[in-house]
Symmetry: C2
Subunit: 542 residues, 2 copies
């Protein structure tokens, strides 16, 4: 026996990672206490999100902090590193994590490595989605969506332009799987109930639209349940757009494949998930981006390295089928891997992984749900009651169970909460995307942004009394516009319109002035540019 | 009688503004219904914050959303504009509000204007405070402080450097008035209770320090109560530094007048408040930055313009004394102004403002408080019980009362919540401040930021094996450093140290690369700079 403890390092704070730590703490209790085993877990957040309850954060029927459980309380004997993972080095058996305060990274060595990094949201390849679509995966996403909904209601309440008003009151969710359906159901309930507090918003003018690529939503469920869900959503006022795919987005529209535009300020996309970049960078065998593991959940060519959950390609030992990426499976895989790691350390037989899902459930909000449990199909109130009961039981931590049960009780008697919690400072730099023939900035508006053209072409036009619209100039990639309004504090003196698809980089007033006044080459460049443009044809520009 | 309604516009969503709207809704019920009067209120947020309960958000003993009440529910007949005010034009009787979605401002005209804009936090004149001190005024501030405390505990738990560990576990609050004392009491309770969940943090090593400029905290209260509060805080482990003023801050220290440094990563400053810039810009008579109003709360030279609360200089009609800036006074001033506005519209006698404060209370956390009510002094549990009862009664909205009462009940039985809710994206551009002889970036660290020197002087040094530390160059305002590590993705190859006080602008990797690759003059500049420095003396630099 060596002097130093066996080091087990777990990557990821989702169901896979946390349940591995939790199970190992139980199995290796004595070894951990005697410091013969050291358990570490790296997680971006110090809590685990209980995904099934995330949609209820939108409506505020569950308190913001009550769907999440602190990992430290679940795994008190594990060293938790609340950091992001920077790099995994399988050869040197070393993982580096990003810096905390200050800028020193931390490097951790391991004897056993557990990879449970899940997957990530990726909008790659769909123009404008990264800029304008709201993802729905983390707690922050649910909060951001809630705030967006309230913000659009606030704006609609004081908007006088009927077109803008309609756009503000249209809400689009893309993706009719479990996560999209639960999100659209909760969004629909929330927006219709919250709207009552707004004196100028007419509930009949609210549109909630679900886009789904196939002919029937909830492909994971039997047809009859999916049809029940469709009827129920439609009855509640959700418009279903089936056989419809999202192509992209602009600031004020969802763009469909085929060319149709749905004017909206709120587009939620639950569809795209991609492999975690850390997993993608690993030099190991993969199938569909997921790490191939053996029957004991260990990597075939890397003894001591284990993987599970959404980032692993696990074959069920009994059925021979690949396991689906669900929390149910991740939890069971975690327990199996933990047992095998304990066996590897203490000796003993390993276990092969096999698990049959108990069932599937989807909440439809407002006292209704669909469920298939042990092959029995349920829908409506009973399914909803089961949904709440089962998930309340599964929610990790007794204190959370009490808090959520209390939330649900209060929610029955209290009105919908409509406070908009603004956190996060405004961004100094952001990317924007425009389709051809859109207005990027408008003559007469207040100028708060400087734009750098990343690609595409725009024209600068000015409406001159008596002459109509005059084109001042065209601009191409690498050129910028909007600087005069930022420097002079006057309204935009011209309109800039996209001629092609256009990606721009926008800098706000503060960021611009900070850079402009402090970085000599930039100051010189803008001084010359402004001088040239002020002298240029047709008077000043935007 | 004219055709159009009389327009009353209220600026500010604090106690003054909201209670004016609320009282006017009652007094002018018929006129509003018949559209003879139109009521508008502009507020940055769509809720009113109940300040006395803000400290409890730190510890999570009150739910995040439960200390705030939606203004729409309190004032259902008022048009709420959830915007920031851009400009007040008293001559044209017009107010413009910032744009919502898109970039169109909105302009609102008024017949009666109510100015209740309060004051703002200002760190001007204290170096480093704007960059590093945490204010404590808004709900977002309380959340940010909570997250900072948890973040420092997370980092302390995995920190191996004893100096850094001590710095992380030191918490400093500046200002011993009500707000500072309540914040330090709650912070102290929270950090000591939360620390139990961290396996490597030793509670005895936590330091919580209160800085106060005078010899006794809580100058608003009688001496015996202030002394009680001091004893209690000290018993709970708060270090009191009396007759001590804060001079400034760096990223890892609070700087005191006289030169002492207290190493810390958490500095809360409750001291500085300054006039709202909108009020400062108004061409009206002021006293100590507050708008002078007549006995009816109307501006002497501007009939139809009213002011109240922290931004107004109100003389009590009975005592002849100026009114203190408290919520109690703002609420009563609001009611008086609303009555006088109603009288101005319908005719009737005006009322002069006079009010004697009922008392003062300060919570000390953990079942203790101090209070002086109708001249009677109370301290300890009874004062705490009164504090809770009175503030629960005053909390606007029945649903909030129920939620807070529930929160308090759960808090008695459930463990302290330690989840760190990260919202808000990382900033792309930020300002930083360094005292002379501090390290700005360190050789060997990961390079995530490009720095532009705004003022001051720095030296670039490199430790060379066998030669010790070699100075490569000195840099002055307008020069930048750190670009090579950003471009090459390698650790910093040199250390940069401040020679004087230094202000820098830091751009993160994403912001730098976006600008660098898209803005030709910047790209050219950096390409030349990097080439020159790579060729330069003593090999490459940071």
């Amino acid at each position: 026996m060596t002097d130093r403890p066996v080091r087990i390092l777990i990557l990821g704070g989702g169901f896979g990672g946390v349940y591995t730590a939790l199970t190992l703490e139980k199995l290796l209790k004595r070894e951990i206490r005697d410091r013969r085993v050291e358990l570490g877990l790296i997680s971006r957040d110090n809590y685990i999100v209980f995904q099934p309850m995330l949609p209820e954060v939108i409506s505020g029927s569950i308190g913001i902090l009550d769907t999440i459980t602190p990992i430290r309380r679940l795994c008190p004997s594990t060293n938790l590193y609340t950091r992001t993972v920077d790099k995994i080095d399988l050869d040197r058996k070393r993982v580096s994590a990003a810096a905390g305060f200050g800028s020193r990274q931390c490097a951790l060595e391991y004897d056993h490595l557990v990879i449970a990094l899940g997957n990530v949201t990726s909008f790659a390849g769909q123009p404008g989605l990264a800029e304008y679509a709201l993802p729905f995966k983390y707690l922050g996403d649910a909060l951001a969506l809630r705030n967006r909904i309230i913000h659009t209601l606030e704006e609609a309440d004081i908007e006088r332009d009927p077109e803008v008003y309609k756009t503000l009151l249209t809400f689009v969710v893309a993706g009719g799987g479990f996560s999209g359906v639960e999100a659209v159901a909760e969004l629909n309930d929330f927006v219709r109930s919250a709207a009552k507090a707004f004196r100028n918003v007419k509930p009949a003018e609210i549109r909630v639209i679900l886009l789904h690529a196939q002919a029937l939503i909830l492909p994971e469920l039997p047809k009859s349940l999916a049809e029940f869900a469709q009827r129920l959503l439609m009855k509640r006022g959700v418009e279903l757009r089936l056989n419809t795919r999202l192509h992209g987005a602009t600031a004020d529209a969802a763009l469909l494949v085929g060319g149709e535009r749905i004017p909206t300020r709120t587009l939620v996309s639950t569809v795209p998930s991609a492999p975690n970049p850390l997993v993608a960078a690993l030099p190991v065998k993969k199938e569909k981006g997921r790490i191939i593991v053996g029957r004991h959940l260990e990597l075939p060519d890397h003894p001591g390295v284990w993987a599970m959950g959404d980032c692993a390609w696990v074959i069920d030992a009994r059925t021979g089928e690949p396991c689906p990426p669900t929390a149910q499976h991740a939890t069971r895989e975690a327990k199996c891997a933990a047992q095998n790691i304990a066996a590897a350390i203490r000796g003993g037989a390993r276990r092969e992984f096999s698990f049959t899902a108990l069932g599937k459930m989807g909440s439809l909000g407002h006292h209704s749900a669909v469920a298939e449990i042990f092959g029995i199909k349920l829908s409506g109130f009973l399914a909803w009651w089961l949904w709440r009961t089962i998930y309340l039981m599964k929610l990790p931590g007794l204190d959370r169970k009490i808090r959520v049960a209390t939330d649900w009780t209060l929610d029955l008697i209290l009105p919908t909460d409509i406070t908009q919690l603004k956190t996060g400072k405004p961004e100094g730099i952001r990317r924007e995307y425009f389709e051809p023939n859109e207005i990027i900035c408008r003559q007469g508006d207040r100028g708060d942004w400087l734009y750098v053209l990343v690609d595409g072409e725009v024209e600068v036009v000015k409406s001159v009394p008596g002459q109509g619209e005059v084109t001042l100039r065209k601009l191409r990639a690498g050129e910028c516009f909007g600087e005069i309004a930022l420097v002079s504090d006057q309204p935009r003196s011209a309109t800039v319109r996209s001629l092609t698809s256009v990606n721009v980089l926008a800098l706000d007033r503060d960021a611009f002035q900070a850079l402009f006044s402090n970085l000599p080459p930039l100051r010189g460049f803008f001084e010359q540019l402004i001088e040239a443009r002020l002298k240029g044809p047709g008077d000043r520009m935007a």
